[in-house]
């Protein structure tokens, strides 16, 4: 298959898909097992959009790719979709999520110890939003439930994978001189 043709096929797929497509998924659809070649074509496409300074971009989130609008033009898109609900996570939810993201798998008790606040309500919300999942049970008395983050978590925050969040050591607290 010509490189140009491959790139065009991928462009169609990334444009039309309503969720991110992994290299694996693309390879299955295109029926091609040369992952490097597919990845190369996706990256070429990504660069093309950047060079062209397009209103669209190839994003690489949640371990996959998708063609999305650029944030600079969000206000125009919002005019088109007035009814879209604007949901934002609360600060406690974000704090709890960050603890889970770094310490997973983690129990409710461990989360509460760090934040010093009851976490049951927040955990329920996060589970409902499918940002976290129950990943198992800890081998401790009472077998407490362990929580971990989901693909939806990566998608929601536009993360390629978990390695994209800075390590705890890298985070410099602003105070504590």
């Amino acid at each position: 298959m010509e490189r140009e043709e491959l790139k065009n096929i991928i462009e169609c797929l990334l444009f039309f898909s309503d969720k991110t497509l992994s290299i694996d998924k693309l390879a299955k659809i295109i029926e091609m097992d040369n992952y490097d070649k597919i990845k190369g074509a996706v990256e070429d496409l990504k660069k093309e959009y950047e060079i062209r300074n397009s209103g669209l971009q190839v994003v690489n989130i949640a371990e996959g790719y998708q063609i999305c609008t650029r944030s600079e033009f969000s206000s125009w898109v919002r005019k088109l979709y007035k009814s879209q609900t604007t949901f934002q996570l609360s600060l406690p939810a974000l704090e709890t999520l960050s603890i889970i993201a770094y310490k997973q798998p983690v129990t409710r008790g461990e989360i509460e110890k760090i934040r010093g606040v009851d976490a049951s309500c927040v955990l329920r919300t996060l589970l409902e939003r499918k940002l976290i999942r129950i990943s198992g049970r800890k081998k401790l008395p009472g077998r407490p439930i362990l929580y971990g983050t989901t693909q939806e978590f990566l998608r929601y925050f536009g993360l390629r994978d978990l390695s994209e969040i800075p390590s705890l050591e890298e985070i410099k607290p602003p105070v504590s001189g």
Binding site: V59, C68, S71, L94, S98, Y156, V175
Partner: protein
């Protein structure tokens, strides 16, 4: 223009303590306990005066602070096998540092959330009436079941002694689906008058889903659930 007063609301006792430390530009490792304790207690008094509901853990933190303070006032006798006041302080500092890091991580996530909200991808095609394509998760099923139980609890008044087995309910659910492609989740439970029957029915449903003989699907997340009969060839394949 309306004049609004914004009260800083604290999520927890650590949050409040951190706020006081930052406000007074203190060093986490060397907190002037006397000062911070009185500041902290002042806030609690303020909460009371404002009739704000605050959790008991605020009082736990207050007592910890007072404890550290009182230990520092007392002469320290080495023979006593108790932790030195510094130890409490170090532990508190470690907790604060830990918490602060996650707070920072949370604000990083917040930034990402804001950026991400402005990037739009193609929306999923809005499902039509027959487009029940999302497989309901166990949580969805449990949620739906809880609603059924809740409704039943209002209706059920009598106690009936019945012996019903999961296998029987499995067969009945399959019978219900015999001439239909799907039934609504609630329909499966209609006529089930006791809590015990409801639970047995739910277990039967879970078993059928596990065996992939039926599928629980939704048109949208948190939407209502329909139970679909698996196609014959699927059952044959196992």
């Amino acid at each position: 223009m309306a004049y609004t007063v914004k009260l800083e609301v604290f999520e927890g006792s650590l949050d409040l303590l951190l706020h006081l430390i930052k406000k007074n530009e203190l060093d986490i490792f060397n907190i002037p306990i006397a000062q911070i304790t009185s500041d902290y207690l002042n806030y609690i008094k303020l909460f009371r005066r404002l009739n704000l509901d605050f959790a008991g853990e605020f009082l736990v933190m207050a007592s910890t602070l007072i404890h550290i303070k009182s230990r520092m006032l007392l002469p320290f006798i080495e023979t006593v096998e108790e932790e030195e006041p510094e130890d409490y302080q170090i532990e508190l500092a470690a907790r604060l540092l830990d918490y602060e890091k996650f707070k920072e991580a949370a604000s990083m996530l917040k930034e990402r959330e804001i950026i991400q909200r402005n990037i739009y991808g193609r929306l999923p095609v809005i499902p039509g009436e027959e487009d029940y394509t999302i497989e309901a998760s166990l949580f969805d099923l449990v949620d739906a079941f809880q609603r059924v139980v809740f409704r039943a609890e209002e209706e059920v008044r009598e106690i009936i002694q019945e012996d019903i087995r999961v296998e029987d309910r499995v067969r009945e659910i399959l019978n219900l689906l015999e001439n239909r492609r799907f039934v609504n989740f609630e329909r499966i439970f209609s006529g089930q008058r006791t809590k015990r029957l409801l639970i047995v029915t739910f277990l039967a449903l879970l078993e059928l889903i596990r065996l992939r003989m039926v599928f629980a699907r939704q048109a949208k997340p948190f939407g209502d659930i329909r139970i679909y009969r698996a196609k014959q060839e699927l059952v044959a394949q196992g």
